[in-house]
């Protein structure tokens, strides 16, 4: 009875709620893997691309590089990539804490349903499991062909990838797309050190691969309303 009285009073007094609310939304992983050409002119064909993922978290803080600038702008003024420390993650707004082995060549893979809260999302943090990003394939430049395989696991979750979205309770889906052209852009397959399969981890080519994975502009995250 007392509960009934209290709840009746509340229904009159507390209508409207406290502004924000909890929400859930599905997250999938996909990749752009065709037409890969590195900055040094190698055309890459992948036979395997598996992302071993541990977590994705969405934050309120704006990304290190929030949006791509038009080509003519880049021609005049170079992009300034902020070094760590300029990015402030802010409040955690959503997350999927589940491991996933995503075959990036097989099309979009469901990661899971994120628990989250409504609000202005600004960035995401991507956590890799052991194995990181594992790739295999060939790189061709003129008459030279290099068969390669490698994997790299970032030592810490990658912070500050862009995802600007005003999250509400409207249904939709988040797609985290691996732009493999960015991942491979820094690799020169002429500089593979002692070997390409597996890639010499001390070689400049491996260094380019690792830097490509750690480049957060390689992860293009979009919201699709349903």
């Amino acid at each position: 009875m007392s509960r009934l009285i209290v709840l009746s009073c509340l229904s009159l007094l507390a209508c409207g709620g406290t502004e924000r609310t909890r929400t859930t939304f599905p997250v999938q992983v996909s990749a752009r893997s065709s037409g890969l050409v590195t900055d040094s002119g190698w055309s890459v064909t992948l036979t395997k691309a598996t992302a071993h993922l541990a977590s994705v978290r969405f934050f309120s803080g704006k990304a290190q590089l929030a949006r791509a600038t038009p080509w003519w702008h880049r021609a005049l003024i170079s992009n300034a990539y902020a070094h760590p420390g300029h990015y402030a993650a802010g409040e955690a707004l959503g997350e999927v804490l589940a491991t996933l082995d995503a075959d990036l060549l097989a099309g979009p893979t469901e990661w899971g349903v994120a628990d989250g809260v409504t609000g202005a999302y600004g960035s995401l943090q991507l956590g890799f499991a052991e194995g990181g990003l594992e790739v295999e394939g060939t790189a061709t430049k003129g008459a030279d062909t290099v068969a390669f395989s490698t994997r790299f696991t970032p030592p810490a979750p990658l912070e500050g990838a862009a995802f600007s979205h005003e999250m509400t309770t409207s249904p939709g889906r988040v797609d985290v797309q691996f732009d493999l052209s960015v991942v491979f852009s820094r690799i020169d397959f002429a500089l593979v050190g002692s070997g390409a399969k597996p890639l010499d981890t001390m070689s400049p080519a491996f260094n380019g691969y690792a830097r490509g994975i750690e480049d957060v502009s390689a992860y293009v995250t979009t919201w699709s309303a349903q």
């Binding site: 509340l10 709620g17 406290t18 609310t21 909890r22 409040e91 955690a92 707004l93 959503g94």
Partner: protein, 672 residues
């Protein structure tokens, strides 16, 4: 407009201060005999001005400051960090945190600490000895001109005095090894003069809840000719552990007990020493009271509410503050005759200075070793105030117009500014407040009220920039009420509303303040106190409130929408051939409705029952107190924020502090 009016009122009143007046000290429109002017209860000028007397206070168990605060109608007091830290207060739709919206005063000694390192207006009442509280005077809202800093939701003043003359000794034991010793003495024929001391210790109802405190408090009242002198002094020291907060998921998964604790080494240590001297001088033209006081407060708090969310070694914060407060107050009341009409004039002038030293630094959870210092400042904060109320009471009406001027000056020395080179900044700013009220007597027993008042709270000094006009938080409050007073029954009902132009929200977990813009609070309150038969008293009140962010049409989190309290007690003296027998029975109940939390969630409702039974045989009294008699497993505080306690998730999540389970306390008291 309100500033101009209030300034005009202050100026007119100050001019009238020099005018010849009459000798009688009677509040206009209200009966008050000359014989009772020292201790007579001032008539209420709103439906929510109430006095909770000792009969009501003694009806149910009052183990300490939290229970004394719950005597205030509509007030919710939670103790989220151990028996020694200031309670978190909720009143009239305000989450007053540790005191920022409720002005607390004990016999003239201010309790709220300005610009406190832990929370604005930090009001620690744990030094107050329950037996030494004669009555609690509650003035809800901000409609009276004498209400000062932090009187946003209301003012609570505790008056001191022991109940009966002679020596009073008591010893008690209770659940969880709680032990209490008390000694008090009230001499015959010296009014409210007394001295009292208490020592309390206990293990607490779960891990990390041990505490101990000692408090000495005394009051000396002496009449020398027409002048009544009063001195109040006290010393207090406490040390306490704190269980911090528990994440709800830790309990549901079985990882932690409901009464468990997270982290270690949380808690604190506080001390307070105080002295007030006052003289009440009846003059030819009026009555004047002078007060001087000094309060020394020191405290160290260690909290970690978030685990290791920000720092891998733990997010613990150690806060230290030491402050010295000096102040003085002059109050003058007189009658003025204008033609055939009599007006009552109240004037007040006060000054308060606070010298504060405060630091905050992180510490490593594992061993308590310090991390970086984030705050290291010295503050000198000065507040000068003048106020007046002018009342006219013709033919069953009473009209009051008042105003208040407060000027704040802050000087701050920040040792960490400019990479540790240090910097000073200062700020000054005034606040004008208008006060107005209309009363109408409706027959013999009823009175109707309408009132308006601008309340304020001073800002946190650390947030001021150099040369800034000190920004007070200004609240505009209004109230409509109806009151019934008879010999056996007092009852009242009121509707209230408060508007704050630039409100802010305090984040406990990070110790930061977020400005949220315009807020509007409103609600209603009903109270009744009845003494239907000899020795029996029942006092009940219920308050409903809402609090909204007006620009975003959303509820503010954490306020208490529904609060109810019942205190009922029976005690009667029977004479036998050998000695007098006085049995005592009492029962109390508290209801707190679900409070809105962030993300459209609500806390659980609270329903608590307390009971008291006792008997006095001659000079010996035995009392058995049972608190939370129904054994409810209840959450004293519920909060939503991110932590790493037992989880990898960084999302905001429900946390709580457990309320005490069923506890008993057996007390033996001897009167000599």
């Amino acid at each position: 407009m309100s500033r101009s009016l209030s300034l005009l009122t202050v100026v007119c009143a100050l001019a009238a201060f020099a005018h010849e007046g009459e000798e009688d000290i009677i509040d206009a429109g209200a009966p008050m005999s000359r014989e009772t002017q020292v201790r007579a209860r001032r008539p209420a000028h709103s439906a929510t001005e109430v006095v909770v007397d000792r009969e009501v206070l003694d009806a149910t168990p009052r183990a300490g400051a939290t229970d004394l605060l719950r005597a205030v109608p509509g007030l919710v007091a939670t103790q989220h960090s151990g028996e020694g830290k200031a309670q978190q207060l909720f009143l009239r739709g305000f989450d007053a945190v540790h005191g920022q919206d409720v002005e607390l005063n004990v016999a003239g000694l201010p309790v709220n600490q300005v610009s406190h390192i832990h929370a604005l207006g930090y009001a620690d009442l744990n030094w107050l000895i329950p037996e030494a509280v004669r009555e609690v005077r509650v003035t809800e809202g901000s409609a009276r001109a004498w209400q000062g800093d932090f009187a946003v939701a209301g003012t609570v003043r505790y008056e001191l005095g022991l109940e009966e003359p002679g020596v009073q000794l008591s010893a008690g034991i209770g659940s969880f090894n709680r032990m209490r010793l008390f000694a008090g003495y009230r001499p015959e024929g010296l009014g409210e003069t007394f001295a009292a001391v208490e020592y309390v210790q206990g293990d607490g109802f779960g891990p990390s809840r041990a505490f101990g405190r000692v408090s000495a408090l005394g009051q000396f009242v002496h009449k020398l000719g027409p002048v009544t002198f009063r001195a109040v002094g006290g010393s207090y020291g406490a040390r306490f552990d704190s269980p911090g907060v528990v994440r709800e998921s830790q309990v549901t998964s079985g990882a932690l007990d409901f009464y468990g604790a997270n982290g270690r080494g949380h808690g604190g240590s506080v001390s307070r020493h105080q002295l007030l001297l006052s003289a009440e001088v009846p003059g030819e033209t009026g009555r004047t009271t002078f007060e001087l006081y000094g309060v020394f407060n020191e405290g160290r708090l260690r909290n970690n509410f978030t685990g290791a969310l920000q720092h891998p070694t733990g997010d613990g914060l150690e806060q230290f503050q030491s402050s010295m407060t000096f102040g003085g107050r002059a109050l003058h009341q007189r009658h003025l005759h204008v033609g055939t009409q009599t007006l009552t004039l109240d004037l007040g002038i006060s000054g308060r200075g606070d010298g504060i030293r405060q630091t905050q630094r992180g510490y490593v959870d594992a061993d308590g070793s310090p991390r970086e210092t984030s705050i290291d400042v010295g503050i000198t904060q000065t507040l000068g105030s003048a106020w007046t109320e002018l009342a006219w009471a013709p033919h069953g009406w009473r009209f009051m117009l008042g105003g208040r001027l407060d000027v704040l000056h802050v000087e701050l020395r920040d040792a960490r500014a400019f990479n540790g080179q240090g910097a000073t900044r200062s700020s000054l700013g005034p606040h004008f407040g208008l006060k107005a009220g209309v009363e109408r007597a409706l027959g013999e027993h009823f009175r109707a009220f309408a009132s308006y008042g601008d309340g304020f709270r001073t800002p946190q000094a650390r947030q001021l920039s150099d040369g800034e006009r000190a920004p007070f938080v200004d609240v505009r409050g209004a109230e409509l009420g109806l009151r019934f007073d008879s010999r056996l029954v007092s009852a009242s009902a009121a509707a209230f509303g408060s508007f704050v132009a630039n409100d802010f929200f305090f984040d406990h977990t990070a110790g930061t303040t977020s400005f949220v813009g315009e807020t509007l609070r409103g609600g209603g309150q009903a109270m009744v106190t009845a003494r239907p038969v000899e020795g029996f008293v029942v006092s009940a009140n219920v308050t409903v409130a809402t609090a909204r962010l007006t620009q975003r049409d959303a509820l503010l989190p954490y306020f208490a929408p529904v609060v109810g309290r019942l205190d009922s007690g029976w005690s009667r003296r029977f004479e036998t051939p050998w000695f007098a027998v006085t049995p005592r029975l009492g029962i109390g109940a508290t209801v707190i409705g679900p409070r809105p939390l962030p993300f459209n969630e609500f806390s659980r409702e609270v329903f608590l029952v307390d009971a008291r039974a006792g008997v006095r045989l001659g000079a010996v009294e035995l009392t058995f107190d049972l608190q939370n008699a129904l054994g409810a497993q209840w959450r004293d505080g519920e909060y939503v924020f991110a932590s790493s306690w037992g989880t990898q998730s960084q999302l905001p999540s429900r946390h709580f502090t457990a309320g005490p389970p069923r506890t008993f306390f057996l007390n033996l008291e001897i009167h000599l």
